[in-house]
């Protein structure tokens, strides 16, 4: 798994590649949590993510909780049908905005 984090204005965009399982989820957490402490919008680009297990959902939950505490939001981009199914099954889907592209995620309110 690989994470590329960049800042656009006050937004943080994290593009993730590969699998988010119990092996890689801690790395994802360490790449994202420290850099989002002042941001109000986090965009997670999952276009190149091939697999997400409950360990990955746990990281999403931590990001969500941090943002929610200061009225921010987490926008997911490029969520595959399979990952969407997993998020639906677990009731996670309702808490994230899902956008087709990073550009739309940046301009979403």
């Amino acid at each position: 798994m690989k994470v590329t984090v960049k800042q656009v204005d006050t937004n943080i965009i994290a593009a993730v590649e590969g699998s988010i399982d119990s092996k890689t989820a801690p790395d994802l957490q360490q790449s994202i949590l420290p850099v989002i402490s002042n941001t109000h919008k986090v965009i997670l680009d999952l276009t190149e993510v091939t697999f997400v297990s409950s360990a990955g959902l746990r990281v999403l939950l931590m990001v969500y909780r941090q943002l929610k505490a200061r009225d921010g939001k987490v926008v997911l981009v490029g969520v595959s049908e399979e990952i969407r199914d997993v998020m639906f099954m677990t009731g996670f889907i309702a808490f994230f905005d899902i956008c087709p592209s990073v550009e739309e995620a940046l301009s979403s309110k």
Partner: protein, 143 residues
């Protein structure tokens, strides 16, 4: 009927190789992406439990996970065998519908993996055979 088995070290580094091993068979059987993904997810979740809790609780430094696969015209059966502490995922509490409807900030996070394991295959069984845990995942070929 076709049988195959492979032994993996019970380490988080084995998760991806285990998923690859299983998904290659799914590909040969012509499973669609959704079915393959569901089976790999179910297996990943149970293997993670064995690695993170089962063997450490048994005081075993580095155990093994055997992955057995058997298929016929009707179904693919994958069995994970380990010698960690006895653990029946079916006896474990999983989040219920009330939990699922809770806002994410109040949500209990435990048990999610087991829920995903059970929901993503057509049949999930657990058996304790001697000192072995056998987690059995069955996927129907045509469903």
């Amino acid at each position: 009927m076709d049988n195959a088995a492979k032994i993996f070290p019970a380490s988080l580094d084995s998760l991806e190789p285990i998923r690859d091993y299983v998904s290659k068979r799914c590909e040969v059987l012509g499973f669609n992406k959704k079915k393959t993904y569901g089976l790999c997810l179910a297996i990943d979740e149970i293997a993670t439990n064995i690695i993170n809790y089962g063997y450490p609780k048994a005081g075993i430094g580095l155990g093994i996970i055997e992955v057995h696969m058997a298929d016929d015209a009707r179904q693919l059966t994958v069995t994970l065998i380990d010698t960690a502490v006895a653990f029946d995922p079916l006896a474990h509490l999983v989040p219920n519908q009330d939990d699922m409807n809770k806002p994410l900030e109040d949500r209990p996070i435990g048990g999610l993996g087991i829920l995903l394991a059970r929901q993503n295959v057509d049949e999930f069984r657990y058996e304790r055979r001697g000192d072995q845990n056998c987690n059995v995942f069955v996927v129907n070929v045509s469903s």
